[in-house]
């Protein structure tokens, strides 16, 4: 009979962490290879296509960076929330809330203001919109013990429906031939891009600044220390006189706010008008959950993991076209990788020994 024994590892070296990460990614891709095989595609070719499509050409690379922008912003915010063990699954809704608030400013004030005023205003309102949407579950949790996994998830749908209502109703554009879109943002409110690419560099820059600030906040500041104490042990946080209500709300204002900035960035940088929720964001709020975990909740690593998953999104588009695989393939790919990453974490924290014994 096979005996399996699980024991805690006492210490975990950096080398082991990195190796575990690499092995989990390889194992995940092997599993994905089997899925490709079952759908009749050559797994080696498909995986090669994914990475050549995203990192193998200048165009692919630029697209990857474009898609990494929202992932980095949201991922860094989620890393902070998850540090405090606040399970924010609502970044998608917070992104949309930011898009709505920012677009309103752009449409209404944009025609009267120069670029250097309207762009910061849009981002401020985008932040505020996401922050508001993120603060709701924080207040609900502390005041009424509402489980944040459920409330944040549900608020995603509410925000998506509000957006739908706005674009088919009061905000429906006069120049859009009856389509459910808003009018285009005025030129002053549209973010410029690096020539020949879709990279809206203002948002990219904001993303990198956010990462640096949040990294410093978590590891160097008093507030970051309090956040980590809350995440580790709420009883100890109470004992230490840490103000829960304030800390949780601030965490969710930040986490939701940066998601909101990602939202207005997508609208002002890529789409130029508000459209279907599923088109404003192709699930960035959910993909960023994996981004944050792959980065081990370290904001600095979010840049790398954000680029990695952006690459998979771009590569996924590439294999849809070249191999004729369904659009959901990428989501299966991402999900598979997440499962293997979490499994890897388990093997990193525990030591497993197998022993054959008679009888």
């Amino acid at each position: 009979m096979l005996h399996i024994k699980v024991t805690d590892r006492e210490s975990i070296s950096n080398k082991r962490s990195v190796m575990t990460l690499i092995v989990s990614l390889i194992a995940g891709m092997t599993a994905m290879g089997l899925i490709f095989l079952m759908s009749g595609a050559n797994p080696f070719y498909a995986i090669f296509k994914i990475f050549s499509g995203s990192f193998g050409s200048r165009y692919g690379m630029m697209e990857t960076i474009t898609k990494a922008i929202p992932l980095i912003l949201i991922g860094a915010g989620l890393a902070i929330a998850y540090r405090a063990k606040f399970w924010n699954i609502g970044a998608e809704g917070q992104l949309l809330a930011g898009a709505i608030a920012g677009t309103w400013v752009g449409l209404n004030w944009g025609p009267h203001l120069p670029s250097y005023l309207i762009v910061p205003l849009m981002f401020i309102f985008g932040f505020a919109g996401g922050a508001f949407w993120g603060a709701i579950p924080a207040v609900l949790k502390i005041r009424y013990s509402v489980n944040e996994v459920i409330s944040t998830l549900m608020l995603n749908y509410i925000c998506a429906e509000i957006l739908m209502f706005l674009i088919v109703g009061p905000w429906k554009g006069k120049t859009k031939f009856g389509y459910p879109y808003t009018d285009d943002l005025p030129a002053s409110a549209i973010l410029s891009t690096i020539t020949g690419t879709r990279i809206h560099y203002v948002t990219l820059l904001l993303g990198i600044i956010t990462v640096i600030i949040l990294g410093i906040v978590i590891y160097k500041t008093r507030f970051g220390y309090e956040v980590r104490v809350i995440g580790e042990n709420t009883h100890a946080a109470r004992y230490a006189g840490i103000n829960f209500f304030k800390a949780t709300v601030i965490i969710m204002v930040i986490s939701g706010g940066v998601a909101g900035m990602a939202g207005i960035g997508e609208v002002a940088g890529l789409h130029h008008y508000l459209l279907y929720p599923g088109s404003v964001s192709s699930g960035y709020g959910f993909t960023a959950i994996i981004v944050a975990w792959l980065a081990k909740l370290n904001p600095f690593f979010v840049i790398l993991s954000g680029l990695f998953f952006a690459g998979i999104l771009v590569g996924g588009d590439a294999i849809q076209i070249s191999l004729g695989l369904p659009a959901a393939t990428v989501q299966v790919f991402n999900g598979t990788l997440l499962v293997f990453l979490i499994m890897g974490d388990y093997f990193l924290k525990n030591k497993i020994t197998l022993k054959w014994a008679k009888g």
Binding site: H3, Y239, A240
Partner: protein, 504 residues
């Protein structure tokens, strides 16, 4: 399966990460016998019993029942040969009734309506051993002693001939302990085999027939309890003499530091748990609160340290009113706090040692500006604490959860008294610690008293209270039954006061 009449462990060795936890252990127990397993924390008692219960596999050695070698690979196999274990922390499902919990682990439960069909059997069983529990109550409604009896009943009902009890009295009141001993003696008469893990000398000498002493994973002695005295056992256990009467020099009581005036505090269920308590503590004084836990000690301490709002009354430090201030404010006014359940309240287990060395002080000017923490100074401070308070750790860059209980407590105590606060509130500071760490911590408290600190010591350990305190208040149902001077002749009646039958 035939009844166990004799169980032997022969040459059992087990190591973790290369460190031996058990080294060539031999022991024997016969039917109708209570064997004590004595040793400090980390001596390997629990590891040895977990091997017997099938939770661990020994690296070498054998287990023999009635002379026959048996293999025990899982707790199920252990139960099947007639071994039951009651762990220090109960494995009961809180919202289920006692019967449901017993039925859950029972191997012969029917598929449908198990509790109805087995309830009568369980009740009959419970009567046989005089277990006084309402089995239809949900577990969370039962006291710790009652929960323990449910655990014992569960093991017996599963056909355990040999019962292992891991530190069974650590959660019990003195009366409950006596009730437990009655039950165990009765089981002994019925021919059961009982192994009692403990580091309390009194229990071992009172209850056990024989005792085996472990030290650092090795057996250092066997004895018949009728032949040994406590002092000899203690020496065997830690390898040297323990000072059982720590020298407490006489210091005249000086000015008042902390005063609590007519304080009323509600418990978690909204009922008053502290009903108008008044006392003062002076410089150079240790003021003890004795009592069975659950009589308002926790609520009192939480109200003084700012973790709980009081309903009425006031708390003052020298002349400042600190009633219902937040915990960090109260800390700044000079009251530090060694909380009960050190791992639950006192540390953030996943953070590094140096980060835990400033918990609650992280807002002080010494360690932070408004925004940033001064990590360089914090690390120096942590190194200083580790040296000054003998915290055994490879470095300050270790996750605090990897320290032993005694070392965590030394770190917490060090953190709380390093700044020489005028008042220290210590709840059960040596609970569950081994003799060495206990002695060290008590000496530190006396040192603090000598330096001019005022200390409020809450403890269930009467020995600790009588050794350390200048005055002792006995709390019962949220009220003081009296405040005794250390040399008060009434101290012999402290048990009656704790039980609420005597009020001075």
């Amino acid at each position: 399966m035939e009844k166990i009449t004799q169980l032997e462990m022969v040459g059992i060795s087990k190591s973790f990460h290369g460190i031996p936890a058990n080294d060539d252990i031999h022991l024997t127990i016969n039917s109708g016998e209570i064997l004590g397993l004595l040793g400090e924390n980390g001596a390997g008692k629990t590891t040895l019993m977990n091997i017997l219960y099938g939770l661990y596999q020994p690296d070498s050695g054998q287990i023999k029942i009635n002379g026959q070698r048996v293999k025990i690979r899982t707790p199920q196999e252990s139960m099947a040969v007639g071994i039951g274990m009651v762990h220090q922390h109960f494995a009961l499902i809180q919202p289920h009734s006692a019967v449901e919990n017993i039925v859950l682990g029972y191997q012969h439960s029917p598929l449908f309506f198990p509790q109805k069909k087995i309830q009568d059997d369980v009740l009959a069983f419970s009567k046989k051993f005089n277990f006084d529990i309402d089995l239809s109550k949900q577990v969370w409604q039962l006291s710790a002693g009652e929960q323990q009896r449910v655990e014992i009943l569960k093991a017996l009902f599963n056909g355990a001939d040999l019962l292992i009890l891991d530190e069974p009295t650590s959660v019990l009141t003195p009366q409950e302990t006596q009730e437990l001993f009655v039950i165990l003696n009765r089981m002994k008469q019925e021919g059961h085999l009982i192994i009692l893990i403990s580091h309390k000398l009194d229990e071992i000498t009172e209850l056990c027939d024989r005792v085996t002493v472990l030290q650092k994973g090795k057996i250092v002695g066997h004895a018949d309890t009728k032949d040994v005295d406590k002092r000899a056992l203690a020496r065997m256990m830690i390898g040297r003499d323990v000072i059982f009467n720590i020298e407490r020099e006489e210091i005249p009581r000086s000015e008042k530091v902390l005063s609590v005036n007519n304080l009323v505090v509600n418990g978690d269920k909204g009922i008053p748990m502290v009903k108008g308590i008044t006392f003062d503590i002076h410089k150079n004084e240790i003021f003890g609160i004795a009592g069975v836990s659950g009589n308002g000690q926790r609520e009192l301490v939480e109200a003084i340290t700012g973790l709980r709002k009081s309903e009425s009354g006031e708390v003052r430090i020298t002349d400042t009113d600190i009633t219902n201030q937040p915990p960090d404010k109260i800390y700044n006014e000079g009251i530090s706090h060694v909380p009960e359940e050190r791992i639950k309240f006192g540390i953030a287990p996943g953070l590094y040692l140096y980060e835990n060395a400033i918990l609650k002080q992280h807002r002080s000017d010494k360690f932070s500006s408004r925004l940033f923490l001064a990590y360089k100074g914090i690390k120096e401070h942590a190194r200083g604490l580790v040296d000054a308070f003998q915290v055994a750790t490879p470095s300050i860059f270790i996750q605090t959860k990897n320290l032993s209980g005694g070392n965590i407590q030394k770190l917490i105590l060090g953190r709380e008294i390093d700044g020489e606060p005028p008042v220290l509130v210590a709840s059960h500071p040596t609970y569950g610690l081994d003799v060495g760490a206990t002695e060290y911590l008590r000496k530190q408290l006396l040192q603090r008293r000598k330096e001019g600190g005022a200390i409020l010591l809450v403890s269930e350990d009467l020995e600790e209270i009588s050794e350390l305190c200048d005055r002792i208040a006995v709390i019962f149902q949220g009220q003081f039954m009296g405040i005794l001077e250390a040399d008060d002749p009434n101290i012999k009646d402290i048990g009656l006061m704790m039980a609420g039958t005597l009020q001075l």
